[in-house]
Amino acid sequence: MAKQKLVVVGNGMAGARAVEEVLARGGADMFDIFMFGDEPYGNYNRILLSNVLSGAQDTEEIFLNPLSWYAENGITLHAGARVTDIDRYAKVVIADNGVREHYDRLLIATGSRAFMPPIKGLHGADGSLKPGVFGFRTIDDCNGMIAASAPGRKAVVIGGGLLGLEAARGLMNHGCEVHVVHLAGHLMEQQLDFTGGTILKSGMERMGIAVHLQKSTTEILGEGRVTGLAFKDGTTLDCDLLVVAAGIRPNAEIGHRAGLTVERAIVVDDHMRSVDDRTIYVVGECAQHRGRVYGLVAPLWDQAKVFADHLTGRNIDAAYHGSKLATKLKVMGVELASMGLTETQEERDELVQFVEPKRGIYKKLIVRDGRLVGGILMGDIGKAAYLMQAFDRDSPLPEERLSLLFDIGAPSQKVTIDEMPADAQVCNCNGVTKAAIGTCIAGGAKTTKAVMGATRAGMGCGSCKGLMNEVVAWFLGGAVEEDPSVHYYVPCIPLKKPELVAEVRARNLRSVSAVFRELAGGVEDAQSKPALASLLSVVWRGDYIPEADARFINERAHANIQKDGTFSVVPPMAGGATTPAELRRIAEVAEKYNVPMVKVTGGQRIDLLGVKKEDLPKVWADLGTHSGYAYGKTYRTCKSCVGTDFCRFGLGDSMKLAAQIEDRFKGIDSPHKMKLATTGCPRNCAEALIKDVGAVAIGDGKWEIYVGGAGGSHVRKGDLLCTVGSHEEVLLYAGRFMQLYREEAKYKERTYTWVERVGIERVRAIVMEDSEGIAARLDAAMQESVDAFIDPWKQIIEKGMDRADAAMTATVGSGA
């Protein structure tokens, strides 16, 4: 039999899931499948956009169906193509890029879009949203918001529902000052009653988010770009960016234009079929079933199953009867479960309630004829799984109402999982039952991660992860394995750092390609190369085979790459001390090479930004200094204050110590950069307390050495390692500390993370008391690395940068 053509319009959560269900029923033998998606990507988990915005996840991590999935399943995907018309008579869909596709069966799964209320000034002259205004629906929306937000910017969110609050949380994580403007009298009025909304509001205010209730926005201010909002009560609010999360509107226009019945969305029968056309099905947020339109994912999993059963003939009586909405959410860190009604409606409705506002706990149940018809749980959702199930199945509740709210006499969690029926849902986002997890484990999965990968349980909103872990552990009888790769030094070689170092030594592996060949089955992994190169240089000091391709470009070009592909050059300037002659030379170089920006760095040096790659060797030659190492995962620099020479408070010669430190440790490779400082008194002008290693003079020739400090994206005061009596001792113990760090820390682990991980007590014991008897070896290893120093700038100037590099635009061929 010739295959029929199934065309799917909309490549979102419902559309892609529906196709998966069709494939699971052998649909690939019955249909050639074509999909159109407005967004230029595969299908991703829209729910996780909240995490993308908050920075908890990367866009890469949220894909459910990568582009390869379509190819592997023989599906033709037109990504980035918006279907504009359906010609029902010719059975053809037409996309805005000119693609036309004939169909025998059509599925519309176009979802919804952010609703833009008719507020003056929301749109620019060209009809698109005014710059600085965003919806919250797609990856592109998220990326736009992230780009527009920055610490100190003022962000306003219109809408205090689930989406608005998620947006507020995300923007707060980017350092914005966040205001939520809401029309109703309390937050999340869909899921919460007044009491719940009020508790949530005070929680948000404690976190620093301003909430404005009963505010009606009348105008969006700003000429070229949004600058503020005006309200009906005459007040205004300034802002740098605005997110409109005032609800969603189904993308149903396409059905309307094709002559299908559209009310709030496209109207379907119990088979998820348009009531007007037997060949057109509709699932997801663009479908209206028995008068209801859904805005959460759980219903659309059921719809997708009914559609697939009916389409493939697996069960032509398959029918959807509507879903009862129960959700578990985490809003602004507050755990929340909500189901059914939020207020009593009838005389006979029974209210069971507990409020503890101080701890943010609120529980409210609405019971009708001994069955649960509504509920809100906030702050403590321990009973949610049980209640949601009782709600979903309409099962009779125990007479003792108190036990609905609390575990009295504490039956343990173990018992509840024992008692949990096999078809109870563990992950509501992805519709994964206890039984499905059991099947997966019976099939060989041994870790929570493996179960997540196979079933997608826990990969929706993530709120079920705790329960997931417990269910997995229950099936495995407690024998859950942790995914071991998190402890490997690089993901492609199953060894921890000390084991890898031992292997490298034992097999005498002296180049990155040798390591891949011997330990990774010959398979190269790009991202692991720099980590391995760094490790080899620590293990073998100078005596290894350098391979330029294993180094990140900064360490290949010995300069710091900038966003436009140019580089920055930083000549050394120990302790920030310079001379008129040196300054003059730097100025001349800057002029000669048209350096677009000259800037003093935070490390007390001068940065020449915007140098072209091919000019680098000439710039270095003209500067006439050794490399400043301002680009590598190495010792970077040592700041200092003026110390005793001029300062009237100076207790120690911090400038001299800085020069000694720089001279000794320049260019030393390490897992991450090392920034140092010395200060001549405890006033700490050179910020030695927040450096990887800092020395502070305290008088009588004594120095305190602080380690593991941080003053960047993370701020941490260093731990006092020791107090010593001379410059030489500072060099000795600082060097020993750095060597221990070089040998033990993971790649890209700064000293402050490493010190916290292993504990300052252990570090101090090894470095100061030689508790492991390795002090002499550490000192010798550091000395060898110091002796192995080669100035990369000088080396390249002498060799001449390799030919093709210098001729970065070698012109070949004709007609250029």
Partner: protein
Amino acid sequence: MSAEIPIARLSDIPPGEGRNFKVEGRCIAIFHTRSGQVFATQPDCPHKGGPLADGLTGGTTIVCPLHERSWDLATGRPVADSDRPLTIYPVRAAADGTLLVGLPAVTSTPA
């Protein structure tokens, strides 16, 4: 297929690295992998224009130096779906080590 244009010698590109070349008025990036294969792509990253020739290669993967997104050099396909594919060009090393590149572009079609 269009005529092949000689542009450089394989030995001009150190193993594992990439270099940019100008060919008939356009710039292309050529990569010479550690296993000895050669690939040619557009020079600028589809994400934010990073210089791909300055990236890291591993097998047939290229990782952009600016934000570490990656692509397959052989097909131009992005590793993450959210990125756009790379334009790739046919290229080969002749027996004498001359690199021959074919223009115009073949664009990889997403799935």
